[in-house]
Amino acid sequence: MRVSVKKWFNNGDPYVWINAGAVAISMVMVFGLLALIASRGLVHFWAHDVVQAEVEAKNGQVYPIIGELVESEMVSAVQLRDAGYTVPDNAEYMQRNLMKIGNRDITGADFRWVLDASLTKRSYPEDIVVMERREWGNFYGYLKQVKEGDVLIAEGRAAWDEFQARIDRALDIYTEIHDIEKGEIGAINSGMERLRLKQRGYELKGTATAENLLAIKEDRALLDATYQQLQAQLIGLYEKINRDQVVVANMDGTEINVDLAKIVRAYKPNAMSIADKIGFYISKFYEFVSDEPREANTEGGIFPAIFGTVLMVIIMSIIVTPFGVVAAVYLREYANQGAITRIIRIAVNNLAGVPSIVYGVFGLGFFIYFVGSGIDQALFPEALPSPTFGTGGLLWASITLAILTLPVVIVATEEGLSRIPRSIREGSLALGATKAETLWRVILPMASPAMMTGVILAIARAAGEVAPLMLVGVVKLAPSLPLDGNYPYLHLDQKFMHLGFHIYDVGFQSPNVEAARPLVYATSFLLVVVIALLNLSAVSIRNRLREKYKALEM
């Protein structure tokens, strides 16, 4: 059946198609976005092949280049001519590649734009070495020698195995040093600080008797002695770790010495098989989720941010669940269902729509500057003028987000309560149960999936929220985790790191955005996955719940 254009329009079908198109566009946007994040975030851990080639520069000079191809784009010839490139007359646009050449200590920048046409003599030599370092970013080049001090240990092909063995040794020592510095010396520092506060406390209270001071002095001497011992141990370890060097040559043949102590990992991407690369991928991914950040957060892992986010969310749920449930039970079961309750319900519902930054402002003003400084005056006068709770921290961030997510929990729980048929309540009451018993034994168990839904949604919202946290205690780099082995173990007053803020900070405040970008994508991917899983589980719980009550209503 042929339909003319006129008839088609008269039917109104085009508008239906446009509406269908809107759905399609929305779907493409959502899944395109997820695919973008996933692809950009996941390729970060892959061991890309490293290309060696020759580049003709703007001035006609030819120089060698070694690096990874990061991305390429088409640029119009006009722009290139404006930038000073010589472009063939017939070309309208040309491909331009972004190459990661690393060696920031030598070249000054990790990345370089290169015209595809000017890259010649491309090859993928198997003995190109990539070294991840603790400073100056990646190194790309060739391994020449392994040295112990000034003594040559290995050279040429044999050097690689020697190099790997020695890196493993250096990494073991590094772990040991790290454990001592962060763990044991950290504990001593925190003990020292506690003693200082104790002494100041005595002075403030006027109980700084000779006896008390002597006790403090003894404790301090004890800590000092342990510290000296550890220090000696550390000096020994540092001597050991600084034993080895390697001589490497970069793309233009310059040879430099690199201390093995500064190397995190070294590999030959062009010589790796697919299986090797998969293994490498897994180990890189593990490093990403379990390690601390390096080089101003642009390298290494994001473990402190994951830990901070999880801990904050847990504390928040502990606070928000009982309060949200009590408020919902009150509104639904106890309050008179009149106009006032209706208004309160609408108001609570609408608080979910209040911008999150407003909660941040409230948290900063009320909790930190008002309550926090009050607590400091009353409970921690010995630490003043440096604030304990009078500054942003884990506790205030958790409470602020608890208030932010309270409406979510209240609304979800109320919905669950309202879905429980009246007959069930009446049945329980008719059997002689009191209202409290009905609530406790019948209603709440039945509404518990709804509460779960509410709490999961609250967690999903809190995990992704950044704006209020920027005001109430998130930092770009926290020196230690808020949960550790030093008294009082859970440091509610400490500032912490957060995945969302990490994305903002590394993506926008970092001095080397280009180098940090893959890591930001990877972090985003992780955050999206966590939040998507939380949401999907909340949705499935809710759907199951609805099915269950449908059966009850029969």
Binding site: V75, D82, Y330, V348, I357, F362, I531
Partner: protein
Amino acid sequence: MSESQINTPSINFDDPKLVRHRKSRKIKDEIAKVSIGFGGISVILAITLIFFYLLYEVAPLFAPASAEQVSEYSLPMAELGPSIYSGIEEQGEKAFRVTEQGQVIFFNTIDGSVHSQVDLNLGAGVSVTSVAQADPASRTFVLGLSNGAAQVVKHSYKITYPNDVRLIEPFIEFPFGDAPIALDEAGAAITEISLAITEEAILIVGTNSARDIFARKYVLEEDFLSGDMRLEEENISIPAISAVPQSVIAEPGMRFVFIATDEGSIQVLDLQKEAINGTYPIGQNKQISNMTLLLGGASLLVSDHDGQSSQWFMVRDGNNAYTLEHVRDFDTAAATVVATDIEHRRKGFVLADDKGYVSFFNSTANSNSLNFDLGQEILAVTNAPRANFILIESKAGQLYWWKLDNEHPEISWSALWGEVWYEGYAEPDYIWQSSAANNDFEPKYSLSPLAFGTLKAAFYAMLVATPLAICGALYTAYFMAPALRRKVKPSIELMEALPTVILGFLAGLFFAPYMEENLPGVFACLIIVPIAILGFGFTWTNLPEKIRHLVPEGWDPALLIPVVIISGWLSLEISPVLETAFFSGDMRLWLTNEAGIDFDQRNALVVGAAMGFAVIPTIFSITEDAVFSVPKHLTQGSLALGATQWQTMMRVVLPTASPGIFSAVMIGMGRAVGETMIVLMATGNTPIMDVNIFEGMRTLSANIAVEMPESEVGGTHYRILFLAAFVLFLFTFVVNTFAEFIRQRLRSKYSVI
């Protein structure tokens, strides 16, 4: 009952054990009731606390200022004569006065008891004939002497805490040597004097009774060995003036000297060009009674004999030429001003008139925050550095010590929302600039650019989101196959849960540069994708039924997904071609050079797209609910009468669901207005007022996020940020409540149908 034989159970209800059990259950029930009631109400109160706390922080901005007299006493050492100059130390504990004979008397402000007396050693028979203060932060003033010399004096304080009690020891310094500087070599008395101090140089300008003008400029040089400061005189020549000077002021820029003439005009000397910049009459038949430099040295406060006061400053025009402009008049009582003093940290000043009225003004806000009547004829007023006290000397030789509570004079309706002519600007403008490095900076607290930016961002976001979300929701609710709908809805909900920090990051670091590169392609998308959808729809309708029936009804979006992807990809691919064909190779350059449109990489278009993405799910799900809950018998009735699907949609479904759709748009708008992270990351955060889609903006929420951590607790800036938060809170809350009421009414309407 009687028909069936039931054995009464042998339970004795009055058994004490059971009674106890019942009692305890009753008590438990009561406890539960009370505690849940208490808990529930307190949670709700805690939530309302947000509103009241914000209000509590904002309220002082609009609270009226107050003043109360602390004490009154006669002049300390009154026998030395009245004061010619007074000053107060930072804490407001000690003050000093200078007499005509060069005696400095320090006294306690609370009771006037003399602390110490210092003789400035002006020399025998020499008296002070004029006095002027430099920038108040320098605590320095200059005395013009009867022998034609000038003496620069600084009052300083040493603060110690013996036994934890603050002890302030005042003393006098001569920062540029204790020998007076000869201004008039002939030795005539200096009747008017002015001093400008910077870190590099000092400039003293004076006139004598013969109305000659003298100026001395010294460059401060540090001795490398001893670290002492030395003065190197720099020759300057003063252009001859054409009128009789009445008072003289040198500004700290050391370029201009302002001279009030007896003809009622201000003559401006340009020391750099060594010429007269111009003569500016302050009004017809007006005589200048007082001329003072406001804080920062940029503005003149000019009072005339009719009691009118006005602000003037030098404005640079397009040709780099300066002219003195009359900026604003202050709403003063029509009485002659007898004394003025400026505030030390704000662009404020106090005027005292001949009737004994004391009035406090702020120049930026053009506000008169506080007035009181002393009831005495006033000789001088002196502000404390923190503007929390004022010392008033009456002609009768009494001192009055008043405590002031005038925290936020710089806030007025016009300062927050109106166009204000700020110092150094060519014309009145809306500016937000809250802080700068220097102390005498004029804060510019106009919320207009921020509110404008907020609405601009929200507008572009709604422009992207509303059509997509509403069209999509109409289709999903009304046309879509249920199986597909069950997949689409959770996907859209997932879209809502995406953290905005990720959207902002993608917008700022991926989409913004991408769009800059492929600008023509992005616009081509807007045309090509809809055409492709329509084209595909038409082709599909004309396909043989065999093929059409392969896809069940209501699955069209699934068919369209590849169409959208391919057409979108195509339009981006042809971007360089379009760019070469229409925009001479570079659309960005073309926009700036040919069309004259400024282009920022992070602009409103990027924000619109990213925030639109964040708002789509909100609008979508509410609209979808509203459309889906339109009773089926309505649509079926319409279809049965022969209307097409689309006619039913437009004439029956849409009108019924329109309140719900309206509230969806409102709630979406509430979300767009308050969104922080996306605008923070996807715009340049420059507070400009420009509707240009290719320029950025700064929104209220992003402004809070950027500036809140640095603002001083309790300060004006801090409270204004709270005000911004309060405005956001109220706006979204009111919008959402309104939308919610509409939805509830809609729901009850459906239940009737």
